[in-house]
């Protein structure tokens, strides 16, 4: 039998992981909601930003916050580049081709990273304290990452609801044709959306790089769970994706302690499949 304290610790760690997963899922979900295209290679772009943070901190001795900002900048650049180079030509292609084009990007980024930096696991080594709360040991890095990602999500919410371009983004995600009829340029909205999605990827990369080591298959490890969260929450539904992140991260974290890491993921994926059948519109969808 597992000590309750370990379960509690796993639950808290799950909560902390959920914050970062939410950042990943919301970035992807924003792009999906507006463009109706799943960026299969989204988490692989995160991985590229993680490499930048790693090299800036470990090789050039930049402070972590500055390296993190550089990661965000790279994320924005990558988001815009992917949109202009890959997504724009295939906007009206059948969904399978869109899936495969970004899937090709996944192969490309993953192998290019292997070529450049080998398959070594690299981690940013910071002397961050471990905090003890009521017998549980929590890492400061995770707490900081959680806090920052919640702040970023709040910022995203304000951006989408309080600014003109944010309102335009939400309008496109509701009705693409009507938006064009109103005289707005969808392409501009798309580019801004991809840039914001890229920025979220960069920020997630900065926060992930202080808790996980980076390697070329990082995207393969976190990619599937990120898609599942988006769909579980309802594609394009921000609040749903936020809730789903925590559901999934708790299952992975607690399941990982009770059984094994793989079984944690198996249960999470199985739950995803079952939820797809029961509530295909996402966990927060209203029944019609």
């Amino acid at each position: 039998m597992i000590e309750p304290i370990f379960l509690a610790e796993a639950a808290v760690n799950g909560l902390l992981l959920g914050g970062v997963l939410a950042l990943l899922a919301l970035g992807l979900n924003l792009i999906f909601g507006v463009l109706d295209i799943v960026w299969v290679a989204y988490v692989d772009l995160v991985m590229l930003c993680m490499y930048l943070v790693y090299f800036l901190v470990m090789l050039y001795g930049w402070p972590v916050w500055l390296a993190g900002l550089a990661g965000v900048a790279l994320g924005v650049a990558l988001g815009v580049a992917v949109h202009l180079l890959i997504i724009t030509p295939i906007l009206s292609s059948p969904p399978i081709n869109q899936f495969l084009a970004t899937g090709g990007l996944l192969f490309f980024v993953q192998s290019f990273a292997t070529f450049l930096w080998t398959t070594d696991h690299r981690s940013v080594r910071l002397a961050l304290p471990i905090i003890e709360v009521g017998g549980m040991f929590l890492s400061f890095a995770r707490l900081a990452a959680f806090t920052l990602s919640i702040l970023a999500l709040l910022g995203l919410y304000l951006f989408l609801t309080r600014t003109y371009i944010g309102t335009a983004i939400r309008a496109v995600s509701q009705d693409r044709e009507a938006m064009a009829l109103m005289g707005a340029s969808p392409q501009r909205v798309y580019v801004v959306t991809s840039a914001v999605g890229g920025a979220m990827a960069g920020l997630a990369a900065a926060l992930l790089s202080i808790q996980y080591s980076v390697h070329p298959h990082f995207g393969a490890a976190f990619g599937p769970i990120t898609f599942m969260i988006c769909v579980l929450g309802g594609l394009g539904n921000m609040v749903g994706a936020f809730v789903a992140s925590f559901v999934m991260s708790e299952i992975i974290s607690v399941g990982g302690v009770v059984w094994s890491t793989e079984m944690g993921y198996v249960i999470a994926f199985a739950l995803f499949i079952v939820m797809m059948f029961v509530r295909p519109g996402g966990i927060l969808a209203r029944r019609d």
């Binding site: 495969l100 490309f108 070329p216 898609f227 599942m228 594609l235 198996v266 995803f272 797809m276």
Partner: protein, 330 residues
């Protein structure tokens, strides 16, 4: 020249293949061609579903389940793959039903169907890794070698020519199944379902029954391909036989070739397999990852610039050239 004559000539060439003079390259060429047959067969099996809008990104699940079933039965119980294959087929059919029935019942379509199948593929991969005590986890598992170099009981042969003909037969069998389905009522029914499920149901098409039949057929054939691959390579690994990587590779090859034509999956597979072999030979072990990088780059370019696949685009071009009426589907 009549298409039938061309087909027979190509077939004769393929049958004579292993005896053509190739010098020291023969084992290598045979190895590449065997892989093309097997993956083209698997791609064809995938396209049985894919062409009707049932885009599965989880065929690795069926591939892995098939390959691991026969391998584990042989390694631990000494059961010959000849009996293991029906067991693998039955298990895969069961898995296909378990996934496809609710998908059809709750009308999971498009993106959602793709993501559900993706999750299924991942579940199978993770289960293989998690059960590392007997599956060998992510290190994979080697088939227990047979007593002799050529064992019918173990279906293991050191001579590549045996596998060449076996794979050729299986590939031709796959083409036959494709053609049979293409000319059956099922095709019309599935196309109607793909267009509009409600409309199809309203004219008396049993939507669920047709979808399940096609899915089970596709899954079982994929599992057979997995068994053949495992017997040939004599090694199974969760990364190469299930999960997202291999599932995407199958889909890539098929879409690259064109999934609506008989030879599309074969053309696509021949191209992707030879491309990755060529790149591997050129770059060797000096630049690890470079071959895959170029592969990914080319795939993106192909998808962007040749959206209906290479064979499909050529086919369209030829049909447009010919006068209307004469250009019946070849």
């Amino acid at each position: 020249m009549a298409p039938r004559v061309v087909a027979l000539a190509v077939l004769a060439l393929l049958v004579a293949g292993p005896f053509l003079p190739m010098g020291g390259l023969r084992p290598y060429v045979l190895h590449v061609v065997i892989q093309i047959y097997i993956w083209a067969f698997i791609g064809g099996a995938w396209s049985l579903m894919g062409r009707f809008g049932l885009v599965s990104l989880g065929h690795g699940a069926f591939l892995g389940l098939g390959a691991y079933t026969t391998t584990l039965l042989w390694n631990f119980y000494g059961l010959t793959p000849w009996l293991g294959t029906p067991a693998a087929a039955a298990l895969t059919a069961l898995l296909a039903l378990v996934v496809a029935y609710p998908c059809s019942r709750f009308r999971i379509l498009g993106h959602y169907f793709a993501l559900v199948t993706l999750a299924v593929g991942e579940v199978v991969r993770l289960l293989i890794v998690a059960e590392r005590d007997w599956t060998g986890g992510s290190l994979g598992l080697t088939l227990r070698p047979a007593a002799s170099d050529a064992s019918l009981l173990a279906a293991q042969y050191a001579d590549k020519r045996v596998f060449y003909y076996a794979a050729l037969l299986v590939w031709l069998g796959g083409l036959w199944v494709w053609r049979r389905l293409d000319r059956s009522m099922t095709r019309s029914a599935m196309e109607a379902i793909g267009e509009d499920e409600v409309a199809a149901a309203s004219v008396g098409i049993h939507v669920t029954r047709f979808k399940l039949a096609v899915t089970v057929l596709s899954a079982v054939l994929t599992a057979l391909g997995g068994v053949l691959y495992a017997q040939y390579i004599t090694y199974v690994n969760p990364e190469t036989l299930s999960g997202i990587g291999v599932s995407l590779r199958i889909v890539f090859a098929v879409v690259l070739g064109g999934m609506y034509s008989l030879l599309g999956p074969t053309v696509g597979t021949a191209l992707t397999v030879s491309l990755s072999e060529y790149l591997r030979v050129v770059f060797g072990v000096k630049f690890i990852g470079m071959a895959e990088t170029i592969y990914g780059l080319l795939l993106m370019l192909f998808i962007i610039f040749l959206p209906s696949g290479i064979y499909g685009s050529l086919h369209d071009l030829l049909r447009r050239r010919r006068p209307a009426g004469a250009g019946a589907r070849a």
